[in-house]
Amino acid sequence: MKAVVPSQVELTIPRSCEFVRVARKTAGALAHQLRFTLPDVYDIELAVGEACTNAIEHVGEQCPEILLRFSLHEEQLVMEVIDNGPGFDPTQVSPANVEDETIGGLGLLVIRSLMDELEIECDPKAGGTRVRMVKYRNPK
């Protein structure tokens, strides 16, 4: 299938770790359609997986679903992971602590390392978090 750009794909997954794989495989398939290199496809899968895992861990039971929105462009893939949970302050995320098995904050570190752009928007009043990631096919 040839990629048609610009175009948009949306995917809604249940708030369950079992569906993180579905989300990241979808991201990988779309990146493949845009002819990203295989290492970049892998980075995109990993970043989307980490963002979904973070969302699932933070949203709580009042948010049963996670929305993913992919915007396909000639030279970039924009990925948004959106939830309606209570939100969190990314500046308050503890640095990764290797003495702690959960090593919170590691996911964000991985995303920052792999993506060309990362924005995190939280609305502490209305709730909800939107993680927006951009990967360029040819890095700036």
Binding site: V20, Y42, G107
Partner: protein, 154 residues
Amino acid sequence: MTESGALCSACAINADISRGCGGSRDDIADLENEVTDMATPLQIDSRLEGEGSAVLALSGEIDVSNTAQVRDAGVKLLADGATRLVVDLSLADYMDSAGLGTLVGMLKRVKEAGGAMAIAGPQPRVRRLFEITGLDQIFSIYEDLDMAMKEVRA
């Protein structure tokens, strides 16, 4: 918009194909096949090697959905007397930060038991995850199983 299909009964995918992408159902079916084709389930092979050493070989994809299985397999090896542990990642196609966290927990348990742990043969993309997070400075990582086993037995 919009034509919608389903990847499975529990998640929905909507493709905005209003810009002229024909054959919408087929395109989504192609995407579904591509997604399915790329899945490689986790397989765990744990074995005691004698003299307190053991190998935990992980193949396929290690992610947040299956790290509990990895942790349980490691805990069982320690309970069975292993204190010199090699985690063989040579056939692991994918690992996320949850997988790394599980290995950190395993390393902590091994050290508390007075033992040693090493990582064997991670593929470049998995090794890169160790490097990005700085955990390549915490773990002893070797090119292959023999080198890693020699290290933990030293």
